[in-house]
């Protein structure tokens, strides 16, 4: 609770300078976006394109079935939203999360859940149960915290040809005339990853652009161990994050304009939808001892 109250954290003055500089940097990156197309940039697509442009294109074309981890994450986001706005959970967290999604006619989590096998559904239940203590341990915040869950955020660049969009799991506070004040928290049901700091930077940039001043803090709440990690938003964090985002936008603008997707072999190649047709990826995966040819029906006929 002390962390959420930012006890001991000095609130910086609401400096409007960074917003203008960041927008100028991102506008320059988006300037070449083709007419008649809306390029939609999300934090996941940004990760993918910076990892390997060919991986982004392959993932967009073949999103693949939902994994138990992804479905569990969706359900836990719902449950966290209920608790953070004052509801108490009963004894069937999966059912409650699905019921909450249905109340909003948000069918994605329901369809994903129903598409899973019994074994995968059991895995989802296990993940949800394991994370539940951290969800229900989330403290009730005062009314002045101005709690927003699943906060939609959107920034248009290049006259709307490039749209950055995201949905922060939890936002509290707000900037005043003199001081920064908002705090953005991403709820994570998976393990801690290096990319989490980049995600925090992504939300810091979206918040800075929409409210014209940076947030106070950004971070993540890890449901596996109930640990809240918050970073104070500094000029350095904003600079690093905006440079990363600008790099991703430049690359995506190129792809949208017809530039062939470059390949960049990386540790995630074995899980890429394009692995079977990507020689550099296959080589990389072999070298890491991780490549297993995906069998097809044709392969089966040959056996």
């Amino acid at each position: 609770m002390d962390m959420l109250r930012a006890t001991g954290v000095e609130r910086p003055a609401a400096d409007r300078g960074p917003a203008g500089r960041i927008r100028a940097r991102l506008e320059a990156a988006a300037a070449g976006a083709p007419e008649g197309v809306t390029l939609r940039v999300t934090k996941a697509r940004l990760h993918q394109v910076l990892l390997c442009p060919a991986h982004l294109v392959a993932s967009l074309g073949s999103p693949g079935p939902p994994s138990p981890e992804k479905v569990a994450g969706q359900l836990l986001d719902r449950l966290f939203g209920l608790v953070a706005t004052g509801s108490r959970l009963g004894g069937d967290p999966v059912g409650e999360a699905l019921g909450a999604a249905m109340a909003d006619h948000e069918l994605g989590p329901v369809i994903d859940w129903e598409s899973l096998s019994c074994e995968d559904q059991a895995e989802v239940r296990a993940i949800v149960e394991a994370c539940l203590p951290a969800v229900v341990a989330w403290p009730a915040l005062a009314g002045s915290a101005l709690v927003r869950v699943q906060e939609p955020m959107r920034v248009e660049l290049a006259g709307g040809r490039v749209v950055l969009s995201g949905r922060a799991d939890l936002v509290t506070g707000r900037p005043s005339a003199e001081l920064v004040g908002a705090r953005l928290i991403d709820v994570k049901s998976g393990r801690r990853r290096q990319e989490d700091l980049a995600d925090a930077g992504w939300y810091a940039i979206l918040e800075t652009l929409r409210h014209r001043v940076p947030p106070l803090q950004v971070g993540a709440y890890y449901l596996r161990d109930g640990v809240l990690v918050l970073e104070v938003v500094t000029a350095g964090l904003l600079d690093q994050a905006s440079e990363r985002i600008a790099g991703g936008i430049r690359c995506m603008v190129g792809l949208a304009g017809g530039t062939a997707a470059a390949t960049n072999p990386n540790p995630l190649c074995p899980w890429c939808p394009a692995i079977d047709s990507c020689e550099p990826g296959q080589r990389s995966a072999w070298e890491r001892g991780a490549y297993i040819h995906r069998m097809t029906l044709e392969d089966d006929d040959e056996l």
Binding site: A33, L60, A100, V149, E151, A177, A256
Partner: protein, 308 residues
């Protein structure tokens, strides 16, 4: 004065108060607009009840054949706005009332009224109610952060849709406006004719025109301006209301009302086809979509994937 507000709120106050027209469209013009509306609707009178709302009007403006009115039903996010406006009203009048408490009062009040929202809320189970409260708390907080409610003038927060019936209460057509607030920017009396409508969230030009037209038909005087505030992006828009805007809106309403239940209407394919209710049955739209490059999120992808 401006230094008292956060930067994004300054933009809202400026949009509500700065550079307003000196006088609204005259009452005589509103009478003429009503006559134009009644004349235009005359040839299509007598059909089953039609409600023309901003969403439908936006669809008609893109493609005549895409206007398929759907019966209204409540969802958590739709209820969030209604409950959120009630909560904001409580928060602007009761000092230090927290958002969650204000939403709680709003839910209890709505159930006590025994109207459609209240009946829907009363029938909810725990998770559904939780989702509705979560959406309403978030909506209210978002609105509270986005707009400096106590520094834009005298504010009347809406509690529901504004319905204008050009043929009277028993008439077959209703025009549905949806401003979130009516603001008297100078802070004077509420019957001052110089009013501004405020709407939270993005909206098309014709939908904003409909808000202004409905207001004008109900009150006999048009608002000076419609202001839109998008909390998700911080974008603030201002549309001055003039006679031409209202006339164009009347014409679109006539077209929309005439299109309901009609077959063989002109189909105008475009990007709106991807989201059209008639997507599965419209040959023109289907052909247009098949001809488009396969893109996801704006990026060309292998053919197997469906474009979005």
């Amino acid at each position: 004065m401006s230094s008292e507000l956060a930067a994004h709120q300054e933009a809202v106050r400026a949009a509500v108060r700065d550079g307003l027209l000196s006088t609204p469209v005259s009452g005589a013009s509103v009478v003429a607009l009503r006559a134009r509306l009644v004349d235009g609707l005359g040839p299509v009178i007598g059909r089953s009840e039609v409600i023309v709302d901003g969403f439908g009007l936006s669809r008609v403006a893109k493609c005549l054949a895409s206007h398929v009115p759907e019966p209204f039903y409540w969802t958590a996010s739709r209820a969030a706005r209604s409950l959120g406006l009630r909560a904001l009203r409580a928060m602007t009048t009761a000092a230090r009332l927290g958002v969650a408490d204000a939403v709680g009062v709003a839910v209890d009040d709505a159930i006590g009224e025994d109207r459609s929202l209240g009946r829907w809320l009363a029938g909810q189970d725990g998770p559904s109610r939780g989702a509705t409260v979560a959406a309403a708390v978030s909506w209210s907080s978002r609105a509270w952060v986005a707009v400096p409610w106590n520094q834009v003038g005298t504010v009347d927060l809406a509690t529901g849709a504004a319905m204008a019936r050009p043929f009277g209460r028993s008439g077959w057509i209703a025009l549905k406006g949806r401003p979130d607030a009516v603001i008297q920017p100078s802070g004077g009396r509420r019957d001052d004719p110089r009013q501004v409508l405020l709407r939270l969230g993005g909206s098309s030009l014709v939908a904003l025109g409909l808000d202004a037209l409905v207001f004008a038909l109900l009150r006999g005087v048009a608002p000076l301006r419609v202001v839109t505030v998008q909390p998700s992006s911080g974008v603030v828009g201002a549309l001055d209301v003039n006679r031409e805007l209202l006339q164009d809106t009347v014409d679109w309403v006539v077209v929309a009302a005439g299109s309901v239940g009609e077959s063989g209407l002109a189909e105008s394919p475009g990007r709106h086809c991807w989201y059209c209710q008639r997507r599965g049955e419209c040959a023109t739209g289907g052909s247009w979509m098949r001809d488009q490059p396969h893109r996801v999120g704006g990026i060309p992808v292998p053919v197997a994937a469906g474009p979005r």
